[in-house]
């Protein structure tokens, strides 16, 4: 019976059906399932399927946003309030840099990472480089992720790793993604990784020491 309920949750998440996803999560909890089981067999299973589809066919932004919204709502049911997050796989800091007020891409990555058990510290959009680095200093993340939709942020992206290294934060990786950054090379942006999709960034994070794999 759990299996059927779980299957319905997975399907609702993939379809981006927020209401059903929330209802199913409640039902699974009422049926006595542990949060960790719902995450592993429900949310993570859905993410794996979305990941596979993302690479096979062009994914449409609305579908990803709907799935993201459903996943985040299900997570909220499991962990009401931010404080009591489950044991984290590690912390990731995300930001859209100063000058960039677009953060759809960043929010999708946030969803993917959260669903996979990472603690995401979101510096929001239009974030100055120095604030991002101050946050990195405080949170000791595995990586800092920068989403950029407009090419004007490129000079700022180039500063991030250098500035962190100058502060001795050499173990923190810098990854970039988004329309303006994904065609660039890691050398030209002076970052450690450039992801074509949110899932690419997830896979990268998973390879980091202290990451999930």
């Amino acid at each position: 019976m759990h299996n059927a309920l779980m299957q319905k949750l997975v399907q609702a998440l993939i379809d981006g059906d927020q209401a059903t996803a929330v209802a199913q999560t409640h039902q699974l909890q009422a049926a006595g399932l542990a949060r960790e089981a719902i995450i592993t067999d429900g949310i993570e299973a859905a993410m794996t399927q979305l990941d596979a589809r993302c690479t096979v066919e062009q994914f449409n932004l609305l579908e990803i946003m709907l799935a993201g919204r459903a996943v985040m709502s299900a997570m909220k049911v499991l962990y009401p309030g931010d404080a009591a997050m489950f044991p984290s796989q590690g912390t990731i800091i995300l930001a859209s840099l100063e000058g960039d007020v677009h953060d759809l891409g960043k929010n999708i990555l946030k969803m993917v990472l959260t669903a996979k058990g990472y603690r995401v510290v979101d510096c929001g959009k239009d974030c100055p480089v120095d604030r991002l680095i101050a946050t990195a200093r405080q949170e000791a993340p595995l990586a800092v992720g920068i989403s950029g939709l407009i090419t004007t942020v490129i000079p700022q992206v180039r500063q991030v790793r250098t500035k962190m290294h100058a502060l001795g934060l050499t173990q923190i990786k810098v990854m970039a993604g988004g329309a303006a950054l994904k065609q660039a090379t890691v050398q030209s942006l002076q970052v450690d990784f450039i992801g074509e999709t949110a899932f690419d960034c997830l896979h990268y994070v998973e390879t980091l020491p202290g990451g999930a794999l």
């Binding site: 062009q58 449409n60 946003m65 709907l66 000058g99 007020v101 959009k125 004007t152």
Partner: protein
Amino acid sequence: MPVVTIKLDEGERHLPFEPGVSLRELLDTTDIRVRTACRGIGACGLCRVQIEAGDAGEPTPGEYLHLDDAELAKGFRLACQIMPTSDLQVTILARSPTSAWRNLPLANRRFEYLSTFPRRNVTPKMLNPYGVAIDLGTTHISLALHTLIGHQRLAGRYGLNPQIAVGSDVITRLAAASEDAEQARYLRDLVVNGIAEALFDLGLREGLNLEQIIRLTLVGNTAMIALLSGRNYTQLLHPRYWMQAIDCLPEDPQIWIDPWGLHPEAEIVIIPPLAGFVGSDVLAGVLAMNLTDTSEPALLIDFGTNSEMALWDGTTLWVTSAAGGPAFEGSGLRCGMPAEPGAIYRVTLNDGVFDPLVIADTAPRGICGSGLVDLIANLISADLLTSVGRFAPQVPNEGVFIAHGERNIVLTRKDVDLFQRAKAAIGTGCQVLLREAGLSAQDLGRICLGGAFGRFLDVRNAQAIGLLPNINPDRVELYGNTALLGCEDLLRSPVACEHLNDLRTQTTMINLGQCDDFDELFLENLFLQPS
């Protein structure tokens, strides 16, 4: 609708037309150009064609002057003198080489009864002084040449902004200019030369003396004006300046009198933008549409890569800009193209088969914005596409097949995605403006549309997929380049100039990026369903 059939070496072309335009004017809307050196008044005698079948009417006195009896007997005529009323079959005897500059679409004639501004008094420096209005856009440059004595547009041209060679979007060009002063000069020269070429084409083909141009008025988006003047374009890269006035007028615009070949004492007037993301093009569009003349709420949407929206609520003009991507202009799509000859501009679905209409009736080369709207609306109503943007299972992986052409024309999943993003940007912008003004869509007395769609957009289809608010379609008005129309008003009328300055004080700018619920609104607007 009657049809003119043009016989060319490369095959026949069928041009449907509304009677009332000359054969030359009809040809000028296509890429088939007949040789000319006057304004279509029968003076130059170069635009020779041969009538193969159909009634072209009696020859005019001008034609008797240029054609002898033997030629007339063979059916030789002048294209500018023939006003077709029924089907004609024509061979072009004197074909002109192709040009990067095309005549403005005939639809832009509308403005002749539209303009309500009294014209400027000119102290003639000559018998017949001219003025030129220019809309300097990111993708296109459009020009209209007027006589300043009468009340008439004599000719017009539009063509690609040559800066596209450096980058198709504004940011890339601004970044290039900011990194390297040499690049900045290069970008400026590209535009100055582009305008010079367009003016030269006007002068040559229409037989107009450019030295009679005593006034030139130019509007544009802020970035284009800053790049033209070479001043403060770097500020535009930073959002802090988007809502602020940018000091970007050229120090001395008169330096362009020479390269543009104008009258030595000509006055060049660059209309200043309002702020970083509100150019003088938007203000000119609002002016031309008389958007703020009554207390009735009215909305102007200017479709482009960057679409601008302006909402008048009776006392305040709310303006915003949304970067939705170039899908409406046909860029970025697998088979997309601008609304030019060869573009599918309208699509109907009959018994499961698409019936596309192609501009200038050539073999289809691609699909433009209005065709895309029709296509997507038809796919939804035929249950081949969901409102989320997912194709039905029976649609093959490579996408929906629309027509055979030089290559097969298809619509892919990615195309739908790009379209949804562009549509959502517009929808979100309109929604936020209405909310700020405390209005609902039903309160709108008018929606004026300018830009990419021109006159081809099917309003009901646009409403069915939520591109336009669901109001009575009769209240939706379609125009081409509203910025150029406004610039023509500014060229000819000091009252229009005063009115424009009033608009500046009545405007409140909205930055969509700073809306807290932008993501939610954007998500709602991604759905392909009525809003």
